[in-house]
Amino acid sequence: MTILGILGKILHIVIVVWLVLPLLAALLVWAERRVSAFMQDRLGPNRVGPAGLLQPIADLLKFIFKEDVVPGHVNKVLYVIAPALTLVPAMLTFCVVPYARGMAIADLNVGILLVFSIASLGVYGITIGGWASNSKFSLLGGVRSSAQMISYEIPLGLAVIPVLLVVGNLNLESIVAWQAGHVWLVLPLFPAFVVFLVSSYAETNRLPFDLPEAETELVAGYHTEYSSMKFALFFLAEYINMVTAAALVVTLFFGGYTLPFVTLPGGAWGTLLSGLIFAAKVGFFLFLYIWVRWTLPRFRYDQLMGLGWKKMLPFSVAVILVTAGVRAYLLG
């Protein structure tokens, strides 16, 4: 790779991961508040900027100017690095997602495996944050988080295997290409899609599986003791995780940046168009995340575990077996 290529890659990373993703997260915070308000017959933040669009910027300014309190009873080193440990994996996982034609930051052959390995690191930030805070609410939040994420990572991973069985490739670009050539995988693999979607809610700590935060029981869960920008980093990580999860659902099951029966023009315009298609699909799933959050109540902890281990896990294994059987039958 030439120097110019490396510089271009760095620019790519800076623009997508450091600029677009946080801005998207900010937009998502605004959308979350407005959509939730609408669903509760309220109006939500509509004062700052047009339709309240600048509200997240105002929130960010507030976070920056707030006093950065480090409580006296915390483990200082772990307390400080925990937010970063949550944010970095959240940003890293997006790198392999092809968000427009040929525009993944890292077009890796092990794409989907990288996503899972990095995403599972995110639990460390939360658990360490909960432990370092040295408070019972934070600790309980952290412990719940680790248990929940481990339980749901298994169905999440197993739900991807049917996709890999059908496509026969780990590379996300090839998965998209296969879907463009054949059919969106959500049609033949609908059960796997349901398992993946439900697990992704648990993976991103969203309602109905937001047990790590569980305001009514744990104050704020793992980030109870965090304030100002450190809290904002946790917050940002949660929303970036949402974007990544939605992007993965779209890439794996909804044809990524392609549309059926439509051939995009070549060149820059086609790439831009493919990016817009991807954005629209991701936008729908982000809306679904918000929609579900403001509809469903939180699961009880034992229900959460029961659903994960006793229902989702056997179900996803069954889906794999059926898919493998059908594939073996079809391919002789």
Partner: protein, 179 residues
Amino acid sequence: MGYKTVDRPRLRFLERIYLGPVVLGLGRTIKHFFGVFADLFRWDRKKYAITMQYPEERWDFKDNFRGAPALVKDQFGREKCVACQICEFVCPPKAISIWPAEFEDAANNVEKYPARFEIDMLRCIYCGYCEEACPEEAIFLVKEAELVGADKRAFVHDKEKLYAMGGIREDRILKWHHK
């Protein structure tokens, strides 16, 4: 005693996989979402978005609303207060202060008027006793309810301010004209 065993209904399969109620709930929330969304583009009779946008939209107070007390003049522009000080006496939190003065020429048969009339709105409890007690129908609780000030002095309403708030109320008896 002590505890009671509650019979829990045994859920059917469809109930245990949550999906039906989940879909119903999603339908309910999206109905409200689009209801409010449609209301944003409707200027009359909002069905869902009933939030009042405060500084632009205000409450529609009824005529008997008990806001800040204010002094009124009759249709001839005569100040009705005769400085009898009954309101000052009846005021539970002692918010009203009156400095009476006598007319030199005793116009309209009235002998006294308030030289200074002050109501401390930080003390006022909006009880309306002053309005009830006033024999001259000179003091009323008006619809003014949003009082703003940067210091305590701004909340002491003087005579000028009280007349500005009260304005003119028609007097149908005009008892001083018939003396």
